[in-house]
Symmetry: D2
Subunit: 346 residues, 4 copies
């Protein structure tokens, strides 16, 4: 009974996050994709841009200015565009899930600090929920406006939140390794294959914007958490290595307890810490296409440091997958609906 399906629109459907949303939504049993917009590709076949969707019955990219009313709208536009159109979007759809950075931060001042200019709709910031179910499930269930978290922010916040709650965290260094799809579908010399292939590139040693989300959601002071992302040879995936310094004694058993307490019922968090085998700790290549965040850790016996590794697929738990997880919560569907597919190996 197609009429019972949730009508969904995707704004900015030609990017990588938009494509990943479509992959999930067309396979979702309770969704009908009503419209997918793209200013660049309007009138063109969707599979031309997202060739993995060949054979899927989908209309063409439509004009963003002629959007029909839908039940839920996913917005996958670059930063800075959604805030100026948000009233239009909320008039079209009852529920909006924004995948840009425009409504992730609560404090308007943070947009000046981290994004370099004032927010144009500061009064709306409080209306949005930060779309990380592990931290805000109940609020998301009742929300109409959700801001999906940044990819590296997700990879840092999820492993760190239970530690911040359980311990006296003095200092954290998050050193992330990121695949090329996190940079989006726009071409540049930096992403030209002969240049990008095989790099270990420190592209933003400090001051990365996602740091603001980490500070906000972890409730740490800005001085406490340092973040440095690196581009490595990989298309999908993030490994965030969190070097955590804790005041006071603790054992690995204490760390286990902290994670169990926080995450034992979470459908998309898995603890990965094995004694043998070649995948003893979280590995992003095992998560491509899945919504998992795998977390592992080890206490450094020499320095007392706690090393925590978290792996995600940046387009899934780091973007479209987490957005669909929120969508399921907002619509009352099982939280993992459309998100159960197993990853490939090798």
């Amino acid at each position: 009974m197609a009429s019972h399906k949730v009508q969904v629109g995707v704004i900015g459907g030609s990017g990588y996050v938009g494509g990943e949303l479509l992959r999930l939504l067309v396979q979702h049993p309770h969704v009908e994709v009503a419209a997918v917009t793209s200013r660049t590709y309007k009138g063109k076949a969707i599979a031309r841009v997202h060739p993995n969707l060949r054979g899927v019955p989908l209309s063409k990219f439509s004009d963003p200015d002629k959007l029909p009313e839908v039940d839920v709208l996913f917005t996958g536009l670059p930063h800075g565009l959604v805030m100026n159109q948000i009233e239009n979007f909320t008039s079209i759809a009852e529920k909006v899930i924004d995948l840009s950075a425009d409504f992730r931060l609560r404090n308007p001042v943070d947009y000046v600090t981290w994004y370099g200019k004032p927010h144009t709709q500061p009064s709306l910031l409080e209306s949005f929920v930060y779309g990380m179910p592990e931290l805000h499930r109940k609020t998301i269930q009742k929300a109409c406006l959700v801001a999906a978290p940044g990819c590296t922010a997700t990879a840092a916040i999820l492993p760190l939140k239970p530690l911040v709650e359980a311990f006296d965290v003095r200092l954290v260094v998050v050193d992330a390794k990121v695949g090329s799809s996190a940079g989006g579908a726009s071409v540049s010399l930096a992403t030209h294959h002969p240049e990008r292939s095989g790099v270990v590139r420190s592209f933003k040693p400090s001051g990365h914007r996602h740091t603001a989300e980490m500070v906000q959601e972890l409730g740490l002071s800005e001085e406490t958490i340092s973040f440095s992302p690196h581009a490595v040879e990989l298309i999908r995936g993030i490994l965030a290595t969190c070097h955590v310094f804790i005041d006071g004694d603790f054992t690995e058993q204490d760390v286990w307890q902290a994670y169990l307490r926080a995450y034992q019922s979470e459908p998309f968090i898995r603890m990965v810490k094995e004694r043998a085998g070649i995948y003893r700790f979280p590995e992003p290549k095992l998560l491509a296409g899945t919504n998992y965040c795998d977390i592992g850790f080890e206490k450094d016996q020499h320095t007392g440091r706690l090393v925590v590794m978290a792996a995600i697929d940046n387009l899934m738990k780091g973007a479209a997958g987490q957005a669909v997880q929120c969508f399921n919560l907002m619509c009352g569907f099982p939280e993992d609906e459309g998100l159960q597919a197993l990853a490939l190996h090798p």
Copy 2:
């Protein structure tokens, strides 16, 4: 009602084909995996070897000598081992799908020619059906014994069969580019990362065993078809470029007709031949985890040659996926049951 599910066993479940079978079977709505054997890993957790199956409720690897009775048995052993145990296997299961090369060839002499020693059960060769649904669907539906085709053989036979039927094919050169998973899970210097990474390796310029399957299934004489595989930087995937020389005139329209006639109702064959975009022809990286064989072509206006490109995932349409497709046919399930997941992009 789990009792209605087909009970399935996997012999040799620790290899890459075994792992891929498990990924498909545990997600198949009508299957219950009763046993997975591994001589090397017996008693060990399956996710230790196939970490993408973490969290899936599966028992451990069991002893191959203590196999329970099942409805269907998949055998994923190396070449030469199944022929000596086939009577044991058929006593345990009514239906056997063998993924090794042991029962692919009809003529016992071919085993001497291509595999270097006589077949030990030549009288059984006729009992097996070559498990390529596009060529033998009706026979497979009634079969109890199926031999799943070789991966590069699949990538060559599927694009060539309609041409052989429609045209007077004088000469074919199949030049294949193959990912590293096709070589299996056994380690060697040839697959050691620093050596294997970035190669374009002609590892068997002539005389590759899969040629025998091509000759048999295409009905061409041995002189007519030449095959050369190359290892390239890729984990999953095969692109078979078939350079086809045809006696008599033909147009691209004729080629389209030949493929339509043969494949227009096939669930896993897609024609890919586009005028624009960056994926105008079949591309294996778009097929990882799917059971598709994408086929494209172009007539060389200078030489009259027909260039045909076919792409598959070697572990899927080239092995486990095609085996499950056969399984569905043999059990009366929809042919694409458990095989519908979309690929990732990028």
Copy 3:
């Protein structure tokens, strides 16, 4: 005594071929780089574009319209630009080595056929020598105008020429696998890392322009030689697999003799055909940065086909290296001057 060095200019020095020329020229004992032009980067530091040249004492990119007189000019511009400026270039330098396609073909009609429009300086085509020393060494030694061959043309002509001379070659299919640097330094969606990484892309199944060079230099009829290049995951390197069909009997020993006769004194041709080890045949990854063309072969015992594999670095023997080899011949230097560095492994 710097005054005795050959003064060299590089036109279009910001591309990959230009950068490779610079790498070779600044290390060449008898060369002084007098000017490197770039319309895009004029006034910018050369190491900004070619970061491997950091620390090398080089002036900045200069304005192409203000070129000083030099002894030898290398032109690394895109196709179609040199033919219109050639008189200017020959007025500046006594010797010109053009790395574009503008003067590679002898017959003006070929430019219409393969490049889609008439040559603007057809009368000059005969003045250029095709810069492949193995075929035209003596003419190059006396030449003032040299057209450096195309990269895939080099990888096909070098292995095929001795066979064409020794045997009655009936049909050749050249199936090439090519790294991303062969596409140049201009960005596009096709070369965007998330799209280009891991492909096995048939980007020009037939009608590739380099075919014209193969036909011309091998003296084969256009119907005899077919060429299909594929983009694979690799930055530098080409493997050309040549499937050769020969009229009349021949043995592998005959093939050895043909190559020995043609190439036994060649400094940059190596025969690679070993019985053991993992590099039994030519492998492009072993040639990065070198000027070698490695050639290997095997006779297919089933079909009589001769499979010949040739590997080069597309930026070296396929472009800048071969140009410097010609330069050495034209200037009377040892042919391998500046070209002796060993490759890396692994």
Copy 4:
């Protein structure tokens, strides 16, 4: 005059470090390679194992038990083997440069702590110089026994030493990204291409043995410096990201001064910190085959942290290249003799 060349032997010449040593030594103008041993490959051609050396006039691998007297011996054996044969080695050669870990640490207790068993020749530890010219040039010049540093130790010590001398360093986290060649030439499941390709693997989150060298050479307390290496998709190269926390105020200008003071005359240290371009910071892929250590940095304006990036080729500055640099110093040759070749780009 070959008789004036230094006679050199390489023990354990079949590994990657051994191969890299040979590549450097056969191109070194003052060296004659007298013998290269390998227990596994004795009697086999060297190019069989190191195919980049094809065509180089070298004898075969010789029996380690029949080593001739030489002037200088390089030992490239796995850890634990040199200490038991060191007296034999010093009887054969006046100078020994050991590339294993056996003589890198001064304090015998460290071998128990970090390598798990007591050193068998503790009295000899003081006779060896830690072979890092930037720290111990004068001692190396007079030394007969040199221990070449570990690869990740080199990538951490070089960027950190000037900081430790100039500032009050409170805490350092070294997060390294390492290519597969650092793991050596021995095969394993962990390095099997389908498993290793595309990983971001935290293989030793804490307790890595090279930490001991960092502690020793930097003079920091063990609690002050934390080290976590990660295997990434890359064959050669290390990027060490050093997150440095300093007591007291400092500016980027102060950091520049510290590096200038320490390294302004160093032939193999380059500061890389640019405002524009895509290679603004050190990038290991630009260093393959060179002996450089590139160092860059940025002060985090939000946390006060200093982020320092250092890149090396693990087989060059991280092993064979640094060993040859020491060799040059020990023999009175120019320090960069045989180490001047430029890297490739792209």
